[in-house]
């Protein structure tokens, strides 16, 4: 990765050294090419909402635990006054600058948190049940349709879950816990330990 000074910068994501075991019943990999912006503001503040829309091109989702997207950008609902904006990593700095400029004096806080979390993408039949070895949530229920976002406790740590498609789920964990999460999922998803719930 280059920077303005023409120096080759060393970029190392949390799981850069890991490749998934071939003994897994689902696919698992790190997504490191994604940029993330933590955005705080009041959903009830019309100026805030429209300023954000003017930059993103779409409305921030207001319904709890949902997401919205447009092109390569996504907004995940984290709380009634907090969203996680996803974009291509290389565009994060520019997007943050645009957001900050558009928000101006409006009460808000936008922070680049692209390196704060590691993202693990899980894919395939059985993804939900694999996660249910570490989550108390009923991930096979209708509450977890594609698009759903939920912060939760996973194994013994905090995690953010984003249902991308029926059998594609992204798990966001704080960077320092990436290895732990990787190890937990490697164990939980190993062949021979599959669990299928209410499915034939």
């Amino acid at each position: 990765m280059d920077n303005k000074m023409g120096v080759e910068l060393q970029f190392e994501s949390a799981l850069a050294h890991r490749t998934a075991s071939d003994n897994l019943s689902i696919a698992m990999r790190e997504i490191s090419e994604r940029g993330m912006i933590d955005l705080r503001g009041l959903a009830s503040d019309k100026k805030f909402m429209s300023a954000v829309k003017s930059v993103l091109g779409f409305d921030l989702p207001k319904a709890p635990r949902t997401s919205a997207s447009w092109g390569d950008m996504k907004a995940l609902w984290l709380s009634s006054d907090q969203w996680l904006i996803l974009c291509t990593r290389s565009k994060t700095t520019a997007l943050l600058a645009e957001l900050t400029a558009a928000l101006g004096k409006i009460h808000s806080l936008a922070v680049d948190v692209s390196d704060m979390r590691a993202i693990l993408r899980l894919e395939g039949e059985g993804t939900r049940e694999t996660l249910m070895k570490g989550s108390t949530l009923d991930l096979i229920s209708d509450d977890y349709k594609p698009g759903t976002v939920r912060r939760m406790r996973f194994a013994e740590i905090a995690a953010l879950l984003h249902v991308v498609e029926e059998n594609v789920i992204d798990i966001y964990v704080f960077r320092s816990y990436a290895e732990y999460t990787w190890a937990f999922l490697t164990k939980a998803a190993r062949k021979g330990a599959e669990v299928r719930l209410f499915r034939k």
Binding site: S79, T136, M152
Partner: protein, 115 residues
């Protein structure tokens, strides 16, 4: 293991996804008037809590979810959550009426203040 439902994000989860924040409606005297607080008022604020058998009012945080604090009315015998309500709000009127002992006195006082 209780199931708690957050009134802000409407998510239900095990109590381990939440954080129990002790008794509800404890007022911090220093916020109202920092310069005139008796030792007794400060003691009550810091240490004196109700311990009812039955209906109780508590603070909870959607710790692993949306991060918001809220109030809950819970029966300490059956463990049933009777209601959840905003962190700056009083409980539903019928529960204030149902409350017993020190809670009944407290809500009477709050209702009088309101009126």
């Amino acid at each position: 293991m209780l199931v708690v439902t957050c009134p802000i994000c409407n998510a239900s989860g095990d109590e381990t996804d939440f954080h129990y924040g002790g008794q509800a409606h404890v007022r911090r005297p220093a916020t109202a008037d920092p310069l005139n607080i008796t030792d007794e008022e400060q003691r009550d604020y810091l240490f004196i809590r109700h311990n009812p058998k039955g209906l109780h009012f508590e603070r909870w945080r959607c710790d692993r979810g949306c991060g918001k604090w809220f109030h809950a009315a819970r029966d300490t015998v059956t463990m049933e959550f009777k209601a959840t309500y905003g962190i700056t709000e009083l409980p539903p009127v019928e529960l204030m009426k149902e409350a017993k002992g020190p809670w009944a006195d407290y809500f009477k006082m709050r209702m009088k203040e309101k009126a």
